[in-house]
C-alpha cells in the first residue's frame, strides 16, 4: 500500500510506471497466451520457453547473436519512431534499407581499392543519402500534394525491392553464381567485428561496430528530438499540426525532414549487413526488419530507450526460435511470430488495460 501511494502521488513515478507497465503487461500476457498455445499442440511451455530465452542468454553465442539481430531492429525501430513523432507512419523502412544496402555495396565494389579512411565514409554516405532520398520521396509527395505516406511508402517498398533485384541480377552478379548476390566489396570497406576488441568473444559471430552505432543513434535521436529546435518542430508538427503552423513552423518542411531522417536511420541496416556481416549485397537479406521496426517502435513507446529494450526482446526471440525448432517435439520457430503478433495485439489494446488499471488505481485512492 505504501509503495502504491508512492507511485500514485509522485507524478514522475506514475509517468514512468505508465510507460513501463503497459509494454510489460503486453509481453507477459503474450507469453501466457503463447504458453496455452504450446500446451495445446502438446509440448511443455516451460521447456519451450527455456529453450527460447535460455539460448538467447548463453555466452558468447546467445548474447552475441541476440545483439547482432537486435542491431537492424534498433535502426528500423528508430526510423519508425522519428516518423511517428512527426505524425507520419513510415512503412517504407524495408524499401529504404534495401536501397541503402545496395548503394553502400555498390560504392564498396566500385571503389574497392580506396584506402579505408576514404572508402568507409563513402560507403556510409552512400547508404545514408540513398536511404534518406528514398524516404524523402513520399515526404515531398505528402508535403506538396497531400498524398498519404502510408500508400506511397508501401508502393516504394515494391519498387525498391524490384529495382535492387534487377541491378543484382543483370549487372552486379558474379557470372555463374547461382545465388542472387553481388561480388565482394573491397576489404577497406569492412567495419570491424566486436570479436576484435572484446576478449573471449569469437570473431566468427557477426556482431560488429554497427551495434555500437545503433546505440549511438539512440542517443542522437533522443538529443535530436528533445534537445534541438528541429526536433521540437518535428514533435510539434506530430502533436498538433495546426498549432505548429500557428507557431511559425512550416509543416511541409518538417514532413520532408522527418522522412529523410527516418530513411537515414533505416539505411544504417545496410551498413550492418553489407559492411559488417556479409561484405557483399545479398538479395532479399532483410528478415522483414522494416516491418518489425514498427512493432519495435510501438512496444518501445516511441522512445529511443524503449526501442533498445524492445529490439533486444524481439532479437532474443528470433535467435531462440532456431533452438525451439531444433530441440522441441511439436513447437516450431513460428511460435516467435505468434508471440510477436500477440505482443503487438496487446500493445495496441492498451486503452483497455489503461481502463482496467486506471480503475484499480482510483479505487485504491478512494480507500486511502
Amino acid at each position: 500500500m505504501n509503495l502504491c501511494n508512492l507511485w500514485i502521488t509522485n507524478p514522475e513515478m506514475t509517468k514512468l510506471a505508465r510507460e513501463l507497465l503497459f509494454p510489460l503487461i503486453a509481453v507477459v500476457a503474450a507469453f501466457i497466451v503463447g504458453g496455452i498455445l504450446i500446451l495445446l499442440v502438446g509440448d511443455s511451455p516451460i521447456v519451450a520457453y527455456r529453450l527460447l530465452l535460455g539460448s538467447a542468454l548463453s555466452w558468447p553465442d546467445g548474447i552475441g547473436y541476440t545483439l547482432f539481430h537486435a542491431t537492424p531492429l534498433i535502426f528500423t525501430g528508430l526510423a519508425v519512431l522519428v516518423g511517428f513523432r512527426c505524425g507520419l507512419f513510415n512503412i517504407g523502412a524495408e524499401g529504404q534499407l534495401y536501397i541503402a544496402a545496395f548503394a553502400t555495396a555498390w560504392v564498396g565494389i566500385t571503389f574497392a581499392n580506396l584506402s579505408p579512411w576514404l572508402l568507409i565514409p563513402f560507403c556510409f554516405l552512400a547508404a545514408i543519402l540513398s536511404g534518406a532520398f528514398w524516404a524523402a520521396i513520399p515526404g515531398v509527395l505528402k508535403a506538396r500534394f497531400g498524398s498519404h505516406e502510408v500508400i506511397n511508402t508501401i508502393m516504394l517498398n515494391f519498387i525498391a525491392v524490384a529495382l535492387v533485384s534487377y541491378f543484382v541480377q543483370y549487372h552486379y552478379k558474379v557470372p555463374g553464381d547461382p545465388i542472387m548476390q553481388t561480388s565482394f566489396i573491397g576489404e577497406g570497406a569492412h567495419i570491424a567485428r566486436l570479436g576484435k576488441f572484446v576478449p573471449g568473444f569469437p570473431e566468427r559471430i557477426p556482431l560488429n561496430v554497427a551495434f555500437l552505432l545503433a546505440l549511438l543513434c539512440c542517443l542522437l535521436v533522443y538529443l535530436f528530438l528533445w534537445r534541438t529546435k528541429w526536433g521540437y518542430e518535428i514533435r510539434a508538427t506530430g502533436s498538433n499540426p495546426s498549432a505548429a503552423e500557428y507557431g511559425g513552423i512550416s509543416i511541409g518542411k518538417q514532413i520532408v525532414l522527418a522522412m529523410a531522417v527516418s530513411g537515414a536511420l533505416a539505411s544504417m541496416v545496410g551498413i550492418n549487413e553489407v559492411l559488417g556481416y556479409r561484405y557483399r549485397y545479398y538479395d532479399g537479406f532483410s528478415d522483414n526488419y522494416g516491418f518489425t521496426g514498427i512493432a519495435v517502435a510501438l512496444l518501445g513507446r516511441n522512445h529511443p530507450a524503449g526501442v533498445i529494450l524492445a529490439a533486444l526482446l524481439f532479437a532474443a526471440l528470433q535467435h531462440g526460435g532456431i533452438y525451439v525448432d531444433g530441440f522441441s517435439e511439436h513447437v516450431t520457430k513460428d511460435i516467435v511470430q505468434v508471440l510477436q503478433g500477440i505482443i503487438i495485439l496487446f500493445v495496441a489494446g492498451e486503452a483497455f488495460f489503461k481502463w482496467l488499471v486506471g480503475r484499480r488505481f482510483s479505487m485504491q485512492r478512494l480507500r486511502a
Partner: protein, 503 residues
C-alpha cells in the same frame, strides 16, 4: 417537481458533486449557474441518466426514482438539449426527431403521422419549424428548436438545457426566451445551465449557484442581482465592468486595404474589407460567428495561403501578403487564437514546451551550439515567468497543457504572446469558456497592453466584452464591415441589428 437530494459524484480524485441538493419547482424556469467545473453539468447529467451518482437520490414529483440511463429519464418525462447539437445534417427535421423513437411497425417507418404530430407541437409552442426541411438548410437557432422538439416529441415535461444561448445571436436569444416563457405557460419545467448572468436575470424564476462541486446559493431571481450572483459563483467580489482610461492613440500599425479572402471551396469569406488599427487602441470586431472574422484574423496572422487572398495588408508600412507566419511574428505580431485546443496549444506538451512555441528557434531559447540546441534553463525561466506573472494554475511547468482548465490554458497563451512584446496583437474570443474570475484578469491585461502602446485587434462573439473593451467597434456581416460604431454610445440593439441584417 424534480429534486436532487444529497447527490455526490466523484471522478477519480475530483469531487464533481459534493452532497448537493437542488429543487426545481414544476412550471418554473430554473437557472443553474457556476463557473466551468463547478459541477452544474455533472448534476444535470445525473438527472438525465448519463452518469449515476455515487450516493444520493433523485425524486420526480416527490417519488424517489432510479435513473440509470437517458432512457429511464425520458420515460419519466425528462428531456435534455446538449450544448453541441446531436442532429444528422443530411436528414430532415422529422427524421431527426423520430430517430431512436421511430413510429410505425418494425419494417415500415410512419413519418406522416410523426410529421403531423411535430407540426402540432411546433404550432403549440410557436417554434415555426417545417418537419420536411433538411437540417443542413436550417440556421443554428432553428436547429436548436429542432432539439427542443425532439424532447417535446418524447413527452418531456422537464427540459434541461445545457448552455443553450452559447451559439445564438442576440436576436435569436430574444426569440429563444420567448419560446421558453411559452413553455412555462404550458406547464413545462425548464432547467437552464449557464454562466451568463444577464440571461439568468432575464429569464429565470429561481437560481441555484454552484461552486467547486457544492451548491453555494439558492435565490429567487427577483431578489438578486448580477453582482451578488458573480460573488457567489467566484467566492469573492468581482469587477464586472472593464475600467479603462482614454486611449492614447499613436500611428497606424496595421492598414488593411480591400482585403478579400476565399476559403478552400472558392467562396468569399472576407469581402473587400478596409480598416486600420493604430497603436494604443483596441479595435473590436463584433459579429455573429462564421461571418469571416476567423478568416480575417488567420489571414493577418499568416495562416492562409497567399493565393487565397487579394488586397493589401500593411504592417508598419511593409506589405505582409507573402510573408510567412514566422516572419510576421518576428516583425512583432502576436496572436491569441480563437480555438486554443486546435491552434494555440500543443496539448500533450508540457507548459514549459508550450511557453516557447513561436520563439523556439531563436535566442534566448535556442542558444546553444550555434542556436541548434534548446537551452533548458532559458525555457524553464521563461515558463516560470509566464506562470507567475499570469497566475497559471497549477504552477507546475512540467504538467502537460491538457491538464489545465480552460482559463489557465488561456492565461498561458496570453502570457506567451505578451512575452514577445508585440506591436500588434490579434485576439480572438479571449475569454471563451473562461471563468468569471479569469475573465476579469484577462480584460485587465488587454487594457494594460493597450496602454503600453500596443495595437490590438479584438474579435469576440460576446457583445458585452467587445463593446466594453473596444475603443472603436466594427461590425462584421457576411464578410463585410456592416458599420462602425462608437462603443461608448451605441446600444446593444443597434449593434445587434447590424450584426444580423448587415445595415
Amino acid at each position: 417537481m424534480l429534486e436532487l437530494r444529497q447527490i455526490t459524484k466523484r471522478f477519480g480524485d475530483v469531487l464533481a458533486n459534493d452532497n448537493i441538493n437542488i429543487v426545481v419547482k414544476t412550471g418554473t424556469i430554473h437557472a443553474i449557474v457556476g463557473e466551468n467545473g463547478a459541477g452544474k453539468s455533472t448534476a444535470m447529467r445525473i438527472a438525465y441518466g448519463f452518469y449515476t451518482a455515487d450516493s444520493g437520490e433523485i425524486l420526480v414529483d416527490g417519488q424517489p426514482r432510479e435513473i440509470k440511463s437517458p432512457h429511464d429519464a425520458i420515460a419519466l418525462g425528462i428531456g435534455m438539449v446538449h450544448q453541441h447539437f446531436m442532429l444528422v445534417e443530411t436528414m430532415t427535421v422529422a427524421e431527426n426527431i423520430v430517430l431512436g423513437a421511430e413510429p410505425g411497425t418494425n419494417l415500415a417507418l410512419d413519418l406522416r403521422s410523426a410529421g403531423a404530430q411535430i407540426r402540432q407541437l411546433s404550432e403549440e409552442f410557436k417554434l415555426a419549424v417545417n418537419p420536411n426541411e433538411p437540417i443542413e438548410h436550417l440556421s443554428v437557432g432553428q436547429q436548436q428548436r429542432v432539439e427542443l422538439l425532439k424532447a417535446l416529441y418524447r413527452h418531456a415535461r422537464i427540459l434541461i438545457l445545457d448552455e443553450p444561448t452559447a451559439v445564438l445571436t442576440p436576436l435569436e436569444v430574444e426569440e429563444f426566451f420567448v419560446i421558453l416563457r411559452r413553455m412555462r405557460e404550458q406547464g413545462k419545467t425548464v432547467i437552464i445551465i449557464t454562466h451568463k448572468l444577464s440571461e439568468v436575470l432575464a429569464i429565470s424564476d429561481e437560481v441555484t449557484v454552484m461552486r467547486d462541486g457544492k451548491v453555494v446559493g439558492r435565490v429567487q431571481t427577483k431578489d438578486t442581482n448580477a453582482a451578488e450572483l458573480a460573488r457567489l459563483m467566484v467566492g469573492r467580489e468581482v469587477l464586472l465592468r472593464v475600467e479603462k482610461p482614454d486611449a492614447k492613440v499613436g500611428k497606424a500599425e496595421l492598414e488593411i486595404r480591400n482585403l478579400s479572402v476565399t476559403d478552400r471551396t472558392g467562396a468569399k469569406r472576407v469581402n473587400d474589407v478596409s480598416f486600420e488599427v493604430r497603436s494604443g487602441e483596441i479595435v473590436g470586431i463584433a459579429g455573429v460567428e462564421g461571418n469571416g472574422q476567423t478568416e480575417l484574423i488567420e489571414a493577418l496572422a499568416g495562416l492562409i495561403e497567399p493565393e487565397r487572398m487579394t488586397g493589401e495588408i500593411n504592417f508598419e508600412g511593409k506589405n505582409l501578403h507573402t510573408m510567412s507566419a514566422r516572419i510576421r511574428r518576428e516583425l512583432g505580431i502576436a496572436h491569441i487564437p480563437e480555438d486554443r485546443h486546435r491552434r494555440g496549444l500543443l496539448l500533450d506538451f508540457s507548459l514549459a514546451e508550450n511557453s516557447i512555441l513561436g520563439v523556439h528557434y531563436r535566442p534566448p531559447v535556442a542558444a546553444l551550439a550555434g542556436g541548434v540546441f534548446l537551452d533548458e534553463n532559458a525555457i524553464q525561466r521563461r515558463a516560470a515567468e509566464i506562470i507567475q506573472e499570469f497566475d497559471v494554475r497549477p504552477p507546475n511547468a512540467a504538467l502537460p497543457a491538457r491538464a489545465l482548465s480552460g482559463g489557465n490554458q488561456q492565461k498561458l497563451i496570453i502570457g506567451r504572446e505578451y512575452k514577445v512584446n508585440p506591436k500588434l496583437l490579434l485576439v480572438s474570443q479571449p475569454t471563451r469558456g473562461v471563468d468569471i474570475g479569469a475573465i476579469e484578469f484577462i480584460h485587465r491585461q488587454l487594457v494594460a497592453l493597450r496602454d503600453d502602446g500596443c495595437a490590438i485587434l479584438l474579435v469576440s462573439a460576446e457583445l458585452e466584452e467587445v463593446t466594453s473593451l473596444s475603443d472603436r467597434l466594427l461590425i462584421f456581416h457576411d464578410g463585410r464591415i456592416a458599420g462602425e460604431v462608437d462603443p461608448k454610445v451605441a446600444t446593444l440593439e443597434e449593434i445587434g441589428l447590424l450584426m444580423t441584417r448587415g445595415h
